[in-house]
């Protein structure tokens, strides 16, 4: 077991009602520009009775993050608590992380020279960036640093059905298992994306 908690997101598709509150809250809290969507709600089998379900998706803060592996300028770093962050002053906006990410998390503002891609932006789990904690520069580049203030990431705090869970992976896993057991169905399989993002734990 790790000495530190490993912070993870999980969206319970059985509870998500596609209200997009998480996405809007994220956009507003971090004052994201148009075209950037750190968190998005995706509906699969839209309109098919009995098969439709929704998921709120952002960076999964993978244990063995592919984005961190492919970045040619090594702008990513993984905190001791498992949150995957990056340094925007190093990022060159090549987009390799976008190709490598299985969750479509990296976002690119169209503010480069003549409308080309700018530097990458992604979910920070409301943990800011490498700049001084809660400094104006950190807020400008990465948005709010709610974790430093002892708060939950804004998306999970905003989720009205508590579909979106965040916290130490064991706690998140425990909550999900309890929910499934309460339904009387038992755990049929690992939650979506768990094996890809977090390994077989």
């Amino acid at each position: 077991m790790n000495a530190y908690a490993r912070m993870k997101f999980y969206c319970d598709e059985g509870r998500c009602i596609e209200c997009n509150g998480c996405s809007v809250a994220c956009d507003e809290a971090h004052e994201l520009p148009v075209g950037i969507s750190r968190r998005k709600v995706v509906t699969v089998n839209d309109g098919v009775p009995g098969k439709e379900f929704s998921l709120s998706v952002a960076c999964m803060h993978c244990t063995d993050a592919p984005c961190e592996q492919v970045c040619p300028v090594h702008c990513f770093y993984i905190r001791e608590d498992g949150i995957v962050l990056h340094d925007k002053e190093i990022c060159i906006g090549c987009g390799y992380c976008l190709y490598a990410c299985p969750f479509g998390a990296p976002q690119f503002p169209q503010d480069g020279a003549f409308g080309t891609k700018g530097v990458m932006d992604k979910c920070t789990m409301c943990a800011g960036g490498p700049e001084e904690t809660n400094s104006a520069k950190e807020r400008e580049l990465y948005g709010q640093n709610r974790l430093a203030e002892g708060k939950v990431p804004v998306c999970a705090a905003m989720c009205s059905t508590k579909a979106l869970l965040v916290g130490d992976e064991e706690s998140v896993s425990k909550i999900y298992r309890e929910r499934v057991m309460a339904r009387g169905k038992g755990v049929q399989s690992a939650p979506y994306g768990w094996d890809i993002a977090y390994g077989n734990k």
Partner: protein
């Protein structure tokens, strides 16, 4: 003056060894890459290409309805078969950063050996430097020099992304990456014009009878290795342009991500391969035109070359120019 008409007929091997050796090299490279080195699912990539011929670019090879609930989630959110091509991007990244310098070193060594075996640079003995012949028109000089500059810039900025561990990122490499995209767009018409004007084999079909023809199309005939260089420029330039344009045009919008990401991964895969292979022919071109023979660059800049230079090093060009003068 010795011309090809009066030259003794050479054997099959002598005439075609450049083609045979390059084809053999390609066969070995293809075998090594696709059957030994790659970790992409080549069967998937092959079937994906076949699917694209039918107009379906999604990369979802089996019907969506036939997937399990879990698989539908994956495909619906992030595109099909993440593990088929994306790991290749990761592997290519590591390989290019760590192994490519060795590949380039081997290529430079090969050209150095060729240079030594050749006995240094070929030089023409010019006794009448004032007797010059116009070889390149203003239009040709402009296009060739612009092509050299743009390719050089694309090479440097492209590899500045690949070798990001050396640049360390930051503002200058970021602007190099941005301008790589824009200069790449500007190179498309230049590549097309060079492809047309450097098609010297057109003379197999059309007789160069007018001065206007000589002002548009480059003069002379290709040797086998120069023809291979030209064909590599056309073929791999085409791959780079198409893949590069699509990578730039298909902007990574979060709303369309799942629909286009697999296609973009494939395009990046093609762009990597095209750039790695064209680099060899780029070095070969630099060696053939700039290193092994003295006087090419001044000729392209001024457009004029001493007549004795052509007599000794490029008699086919002089023969064609004299054909216009008759």
């Amino acid at each position: 003056m010795a011309t090809s008409k009066s030259a003794p007929r050479r054997g099959f091997w002598s005439r075609n060894k450049a083609y045979i050796l390059v084809l053999l090299g390609f066969a070995l490279l293809t075998y090594w890459y696709f059957w030994l080195a790659t970790i992409a699912d080549i069967q998937y990539v092959y079937r994906y290409f076949l699917q694209m011929l039918h107009g379906n670019f999604t990369g979802q090879l089996v019907p969506f309805d036939s997937l399990t609930h879990y698989q539908q989630m994956e495909v619906g959110l992030f595109g099909p078969r993440y593990d088929a091509i994306a790991p290749e991007v990761i592997r290519a990244f590591r390989e290019r950063q760590e192994i490519l310098p060795y590949v380039f070193a081997v290529e430079f060594t090969a050209f150095l050996i060729a240079f030594i075996l050749q006995g240094g640079r070929k030089k023409a003995t010019v006794t009448h430097p004032e007797d010059k012949v116009q070889v390149y028109s203003l239009f040709q000089r402009f296009v060739i020099l612009l092509n050299i500059l743009l390719v050089l810039y694309l090479f440097v900025t492209g590899f500045s992304i690949t070798f990001g561990n050396w640049t360390g990122g930051g503002l200058i490499p970021r602007y190099m990456r941005m301008t790589h995209e824009l200069v790449g767009l500007a190179w498309i018409p230049i590549w097309l014009i060079v492809t047309i004007i450097a098609f010297k084999d057109l003379k197999f079909f059309v007789r160069p009878s007018s001065r206007l023809f000589g002002k548009i199309f480059l003069k002379g005939r290709y040797t086998p290795m120069k023809r291979i260089n030209y064909l590599a420029f056309v073929a791999f330039g085409f791959i780079l342009i198409v893949s590069g344009f699509l990578l730039w045009y298909l902007y990574p919008d979060p709303k369309t991500h799942a629909q286009i990401i697999q296609f973009k991964r494939l395009m990046l895969f093609m762009h990597f391969m095209g750039s790695a292979i064209i680099s060899f022919f780029l070095f070969e071109t630099v060696y053939t035109y700039f290193v092994s023979v003295q006087g090419y660059l001044p000729a392209v800049i001024t457009g004029k070359v001493p007549r004795e230079y052509l007599e000794q090093l490029a008699p086919d060009i002089l023969e064609e120019i004299e054909g216009y003068e008759r």
